[in-house]
């Protein structure tokens, strides 16, 4: 339905987006994951028609939207700090989009009531925006965006300002609503937990490009690049030097600060070339972690121990960080099983 073709955009004389292309199909929720300042919000604003790309096209149902002003695009937008109209009450906020479409009053009343049901805010119609909590405000914002039945919904870090428990609640509500309404959605965030919960498809935005596009489980299993692994915080990314090429298929021995590993790389590398390796602890201490076979066992010297939630985060010489159930002593040598992959 929505198709983004080769978008370029400069901001403050710097190239912010360099050739972004992707599409969103019917009923699909995609998630743009990227650090702050990576241009994800700008991309949303361009899709909404509030900003313009230097080059590239934005199409909806094969129609180029370049000449369509924002108010005629029929795309809903939900912001991090809600963007509710402070001078209007809850009812008038939710009804705003309907009024702009000159819908008769009784239909507006019915639709607003329906929306208030959907976001569990029955009876809030006459309240002031400022009387609501952050989570309630965001639900109003969601209802407001949904009320005119937009062709596409866009979320710009919608839960960024909320605390953790509220976040999870609202995230689930959004997920259920998106499933129910079948409205295609773009969800922008820098929080991977949100991204993995909400979406069918994750797009990693880095350096103005989409460096990974795929289902959450595939992205996690194969980050495919240093940036992706770093962004997702998967394992440890360490530098190594190719010590010996073993065969034509890309198997090689790589020397690193924590030992020599045998890996297979997709790209060809020369001897003595510096490459990056992804070193993941195995079995993973996390829900989503390394899969597959164990490749190596390494010895590490403990440098620092931190208590994190229900386990100990252990920093070791060479810069590897691992997680253990029991606290080791500083200076102690520990044995850890790891899975090592080639990232470059």
């Amino acid at each position: 339905m929505l198709e983004i073709r080769d978008i370029f955009k400069t901001y403050d004389n710097k190239l912010l987006l360099r050739g972004i292309s992707f599409s969103v199909s019917k009923g699909e929720t995609i998630c743009l994951l990227g650090a702050s300042g990576s241009g994800k919000s700008t991309l949303l604003r361009m899709i909404a028609g509030l900003e313009f790309p230097e080059s590239g096209q934005i199409l909806f149902n094969q129609i180029d939207l370049a000449q369509t002003p924002p108010h005629a695009r029929d795309f809903g937008l939900v912001f991090q700090d809600y963007g509710l109209f402070p001078h209007l009450n809850i009812f008038d906020n939710v009804a705003f989009g309907l009024k702009m479409r000159n819908i008769p009053a009784e239909k507006i009343n019915a639709r607003v009531a329906e929306m208030m049901d959907l976001v569990n805010l029955q009876g809030f119609e006459k309240r002031k925006v400022t009387d609501l909590s952050g989570g309630e405000q965001q639900r109003v914002a969601l209802a407001r965006a949904l009320a005119p039945q937009p062709r596409l919904l866009m979320f710009d870090e919608p839960l960024g300002a909320l605390d953790k428990s509220l976040k999870e609640d609202l995230l689930n509500q959004i997920r259920i609503i998106l499933h129910k309404t079948k409205i295609p959605a773009i969800y922008v965030t820098h929080d991977q937990d949100e991204a993995f919960t909400i979406t069918d498809r994750i797009l990693l935005l880095h350096g103005g490009e989409i460096i990974r596009d795929g289902a959450p489980e595939n992205v996690w299993a194969n980050p495919n690049s240093v940036h992706a692994a770093r962004m997702l915080g998967i394992g440890n990314v360490i530098e190594g030097e190719v010590a010996r090429l073993m065969d034509e298929s890309g198997r090689m021995k790589v020397k690193t600060s924590v030992g020599i590993f045998e890996v297979s790389c997709k790209h060809t590398h020369k001897k003595n070339e510096k490459i990056s390796l992804l070193v993941q602890q195995f079995p993973s201490p996390f829900r989503r972690g390394a899969r597959g076979e164990v490749s190596d066992e390494i010895k590490l010297k403990v440098e620092d121990v931190l208590f994190k939630q229900d386990q100990f985060q252990v920093k070791t010489r060479g810069g590897l960080v691992i997680h253990l159930k029991d606290a080791p002593k500083i200076g102690q040598i520990i044995r850890v099983k790891v899975k090592v992959e080639c990232l470059s």
Partner: protein
């Protein structure tokens, strides 16, 4: 009364209690307040009470008087309303221009629109005279031009000239503070530009629009110098009428009554203004500026037109004044036959000469000397009174918070009224040259306190504590911590007081003795005299005053705490 009923032992402890209560925490505070409060009591509240007593005298409340008051009030309202509407017609598009668009020279143009607000009324009036007066450039260049603006139009233009910056500031700031997300949300919900303005922006700007309107109206309502100098006594607003009833057609009870009427209205406006200002909620500051380069042809046309219009409107008077002061346009006194048009420095040279040899005529250079003397006295007095008050207000106790609006009260009353109060309280015969700097101090004091107080409050106690734990003696603490911050603020406050005194017109006009005129009074005298030479000299003096004031404004800007907004 209660003390009488107590026995000796109790009085002993009571005395101790009183001593402890007053001496320890109170005495230093009281000593801080003593001078400023005494000053305000004797030179503001006493005159005010005298005006009140005189106004409610039976001789004031006659039928003819009330008819005069009503008609004067009517005209004052009429001209203020008209001025406010016209100011908004120019101000609102300008506010949009500055808050929504980026273009080359934007900050310069913005600064230009703010210049008149700081200029003395005589300078602004002289500037408009320099163009439109019968001796003005306009009359010379287009002698047969049909649309010679009437005095009334000149007065209105001068009011617009003065107050447009208020609209640009208040409404423009509100526009830039407006969360751009609201507009984005409205657009994405299907609102076109017109509906975004009608349903979102205008309702959210309402308090700011109202506040700006009230402030502009208040300034137009109490405008004095501009009306007197551009319109003469034909346009009798409340202020002009008070002046007339003091100096020209003496009737002090009527003048008192007029100023009470005026005071009541300014009080009402101030209360309304404070209320609306409190309604202006500070919205979350937008992360990015809404201002963009104009893109569409419509936008470009709008930006170009308004840049041109604003530059012309604000530059023309400001440039015409110095231009006219250096141009001979008509025959001077005693000059026969062919008139030599063109460049001349004669008006400036004439400033130094007492050509008439008259005893009552004071040379302009003497007026300048008077002005500088008065201004220096004002600086000293207002700093001496303002410092302790600002120091106390930097960390006010609950009681002192009540004193704050009291100290600001003279700002709300008009200068003419201050002069009237002095005359009633101290008698015209008593009007020694000292009363002018006293009146100037009254006007300057609120500015001085408002400048010093934030600087004094900005010094964190922790800095002083840190300095003293590091071994600095109290003097060294003051020298190393307080002084660097306070010295800038003091200079800035001093410049403020100096500028206020230099340009003050209303009170001075009423209080000054003929032999001690100030620069503005001398300008007014020159303007009211016939002949090209007098007019030229008025232009020359006004130019000098404009240059002096501009330099002072620049100094104040330079001296402003670089990060005063952060504290």
């Amino acid at each position: 009364m209660q003390v009488n009923s107590l026995n000796h032992g109790d009085t002993e402890t009571l005395r101790k209690k009183i001593l402890r209560a007053f001496v320890s925490p109170w005495l230093p505070r009281v000593s801080l307040w003593l001078a400023p409060i005494l000053f305000l009591l004797s030179f503001f509240f006493l005159p005010l009470s005298k005006i009140l007593i005189l106004a409610f005298n039976t001789s004031a409340l006659t039928k003819t008087n009330s008819q005069l008051i009503l008609s004067t009030l009517g005209f004052t309202f009429y001209q203020a309303t008209l001025s406010t509407i016209l100011t908004f017609i120019l101000g609102i598009p300008s506010a949009i221009l500055f808050s929504r668009f980026n273009f080359r020279g934007k900050s310069l143009l913005r600064a230009l629109t703010a210049v008149p607000f700081m200029l003395p009324t005589v300078v602004v009036a002289s500037s408009f005279n320099a163009i439109f007066n019968q001796h003005g450039l306009f009359s010379f260049l287009f002698p047969s031009f049909i649309l010679h603006p009437s005095s009334f139009i000149l007065i209105l233009s001068a009011h617009i000239f003065y107050n447009t910056t208020i609209v640009i500031r208040i409404v423009g700031n509100a526009l830039t503070r407006l969360d751009p997300k609201l507009e984005a949300a409205a657009r994405s919900l299907g609102a076109d530009t017109f509906r975004v303005w009608k349903n979102i922006i205008l309702p959210l700007l309402r308090p700011s629009l109202l506040a700006a309107a009230l402030l502009v109206f208040m300034f137009d309502f109490t405008s004095f110098g501009v009306i007197l100098l551009l319109g003469g006594s034909n346009f009798s607003t409340l202020e002009v009428e008070i002046y007339l009833r003091v100096l020209k057609l003496p009737n002090l009870p009527l003048a008192a009554l007029l100023s009470i009427v005026q005071l009541i209205f300014t009080l009402i406006f101030s209360i309304l203004y404070t209320r609306t200002i409190n309604q202006i909620t500070t919205q979350t500051a937008p992360r990015f500026s809404l201002a963009n380069k104009p893109k569409t042809i419509k936008e470009k046309f709008f930006v170009a037109t308004f840049c041109l219009l604003l530059s012309a409107f604000f530059l023309l008077p400001l440039l015409s004044l110095p231009l006219r002061s250096l141009t001979r346009l008509e025959a001077d006194r005693g000059q026969r036959g062919e008139v030599q048009y063109g460049f001349t420095t004669a008006y400036y040279i004439e400033l130094l000469i007492n050509r008439r040899g008259s005893l009552f005529y004071v040379t302009p250079i003497q007026a300048a000397r008077n002005s500088l003397g008065y201004a220096s006295l004002t600086v000293l007095l207002s700093l001496a009174l303002g410092y302790p008050a600002a120091y106390a207000l930097a960390k006010p106790t609950r009681l002192e918070k009540f004193l704050d609006p009291l100290i600001m009260l003279p700002l709300g009353s008009s200068a003419v009224m201050l002069g009237l109060g002095f005359i009633i309280s101290f008698g015209r015969s008593l009007a020694s040259p000292w009363f002018v700097p006293l009146a100037h101090t009254l006007v300057a004091l609120p500015f001085v306190i408002r400048t010093l107080q934030p600087a004094l409050a900005s010094i964190p106690e922790r800095l002083r504590q840190a300095a003293s734990t590091l071994g600095a003696s109290p003097f060294r603490v003051w020298q190393t911590v307080d002084f660097p911050i306070v010295s800038r603020a003091t200079l800035s406050a001093a410049t403020f007081a100096f500028t206020v005194s230099l340009g003050e017109f209303g009170a001075t006009l009423l209080l000054t003795r003929p032999e001690y005129p100030t620069i503005p009074i001398a300008i007014q005298r020159f303007l009211s005299q016939p002949g090209g030479l007098s007019f030229g000299q008025a232009m020359a003096m006004a130019t000098l005053l404009m240059i002096l004031t501009t330099l002072a404004i620049l100094a104040i800007e330079k001296l402003r705490l670089p990060n005063s907004g952060e504290f």
